[in-house]
Symmetry: C2
Subunit: 333 residues, 2 copies
């Protein structure tokens, strides 16, 4: 059940992808996801130079013999980045799956494709998905308004964006933003997606390289605990509501300029909070699905429970008799 | 297939409800939905007095012998309304299904329940759904951020809000906001809902009492063509992007006070635009699902195509082999 074009071209068992997350998508988590039958994706710019990225790829390979990918975010960052160098490193390291985001990967497609790399482009609007198809991407990952990080400025939700994208392109669509359990996986497939991309949910796993206090904060947070920062600059970021996010919002309301704010955010980003567990001193990128997270399983336990739940939901849907909705209590029984 | 607690307690064939829409939810549309196996719902305050409402209920009953309901929106409106009188009228007319919205129906529950009325309360947050259950509502209709009209101020999308509500209450949950086709129906059920509530999609049907130009505008509108008005007053309304909506937004940005804006909106609301087809001179409440609407079928054609599509999607999901996503081209074949 749940074999799709995405599981086939990626060579994975289950249509579950762990999206690239700055600082979090490192070898331990990525290998755990791939070992459990999903696709783990390293985050290239978590590593400040290509040598460290190459070492992390090597480390991941030591932990799994399953396919994994690397995320390369083509967005203006707070530091200048040699994108070409990172792409060369990925190719030279033998990685054959790349997730791009932030901008069209067109300038890099020839190099990636001639090296036999499968390219999944993540974007936030139907027209960008069309572009991804036109320039030769193998799949498109579409990010709804509820997603963590950068939802774009159009605020179209996954429920509407997924079927619209499925109707607009022929390449497989991966549903991103708002997914965390088996019910969501079946919903994504019903809407026409051929896999889900999850970030926030994987942050609350045993293998995610983050302090336990961060994971516990995710569990205690509700769906109302995310905020949109830098909206007034049309560079929106969805973050967990905490002291730092509140400070940024307040400065934004007071009319601080973008450079001031970016300096503040940049100073607060990075590994610090994830390692220290000082959860008010920094920003944590999470999606609204944080409200649906109630435990810290191993990655294997998480993926297996999602698939089991999804199979039960799908069988129930296709069966005769009165449909029995699946509830949280069913899961924890 | 798709029998649920909602279809059972309402006595309908399919888990599809046509939500109460001001001006649009009148006898022709409501009866068509109920005749086609869904639940049609009249909008009480579309009628300026209880006598006209009673007449419309009588008219609806002349057009269908199937169950239908009446929506009573308990919200501050632009004119003072005798809510008790309308409730008496509904009860005295023999209607046994009421959809409430806007505020808790608690003050009216005893009267409604002792008359044997089934109450569906529509709301925008999990805590309101809990209240609905506590005060004895029979089901709760949960409205995600993508919905038409009043999405609330918390911006949680249907994809996250539906399973959260399903986990929070024991009464059946109806998914509202973002639904318009069979893919969406299966997604709603997968998330744990036991019916979908659709408004925007039913506006673009042959039976909806609106000028053809309004329906054609819905077809040509994309998912990006809705705007949020009165956000700065925490009384957000999602409307179709047109000249009037643009004017309201502009005045709001310039700092107009709420009374000025409400006067403008009130003057532009009403039956005018729907009857005249002068689509820039008034406001039209629509949800993001407008981007998924491409035709103007009869209500019967719409409901049958949704069910057929949903059955195919559900069978496909539960089947073996590679999952084939359903695309628009499959529908129009």
């Amino acid at each position: 059940m749940f074999k799709t074009r995405v599981t086939e071209f990626l060579g994975i068992n289950y249509p579950i992808i762990q999206g690239g997350m700055m600082w979090v998508s490192r070898a331990e988590l990525v290998a755990a996801v791939s070992n459990a039958g999903g696709l783990g994706i390293l985050s290239a710019f978590t590593f400040s130079n290509t040598k460290d990225l190459a070492a992390e790829i090597e480390k991941t390979r030591g932990l799994t013999d399953k396919p994994f990918g690397v995320n390369i975010t083509l967005m203006p960052t707070f530091r200048p980045v040699d994108i070409d160098g990172y792409i060369d490193t990925v190719i030279d390291s033998g990685v054959r799956i790349v997730e791009t985001a932030g901008r069209s990967p067109e300038p890099y497609m020839e190099r990636l494709k001639s090296a036999g790399v499968k390219v999944i482009h993540k974007c936030t609007a139907v027209r960008f998905a069309r572009t991804a198809q036109r320039i030769g991407c193998d799949a498109v990952s579409i990010d709804g308004f509820e997603c963590a990080g950068h939802p774009g400025e159009e605020d179209v939700t996954s429920l509407v964006l997924i079927p619209l994208t499925v109707d607009a392109v022929e390449i497989p669509v991966i549903a991103s933003g708002g997914f965390g359990d088996g019910r969501g996986l079946v919903a994504a497939l019903a809407l026409g997606a051929e896999a889900v991309n999850m970030g926030t949910r994987f942050m609350a796993t045993k293998e995610a390289p983050a302090h336990l206090r961060v994971k516990e904060l995710l569990i205690s947070s509700s769906e109302r605990d995310t905020v949109l920062l830098l909206r007034s600059f049309r560079n929106t970021m969805r973050m967990l509501r905490n002291a730092t996010a509140g400070k940024v919002l307040e400065l934004e309301r007071q009319g601080s300029d973008i450079h001031q704010l970016e300096k503040l955010i940049s100073g607060k980003a990075g590994l610090g909070l994830l390692e220290s567990g000082d959860v008010d001193n920094g920003l944590i990128s999470v999606g609204q699905v944080v409200g649906l997270i109630h435990d810290i399983p191993t990655v294997k336990e998480l993926i297996e429970s999602i698939i089991k739940e999804a199979e039960e939901v799908a069988s129930n849907l296709a069966g005769a008799g009165v449909f029995k909705p699946r509830r949280l209590t069913d899961v924890t029984e």
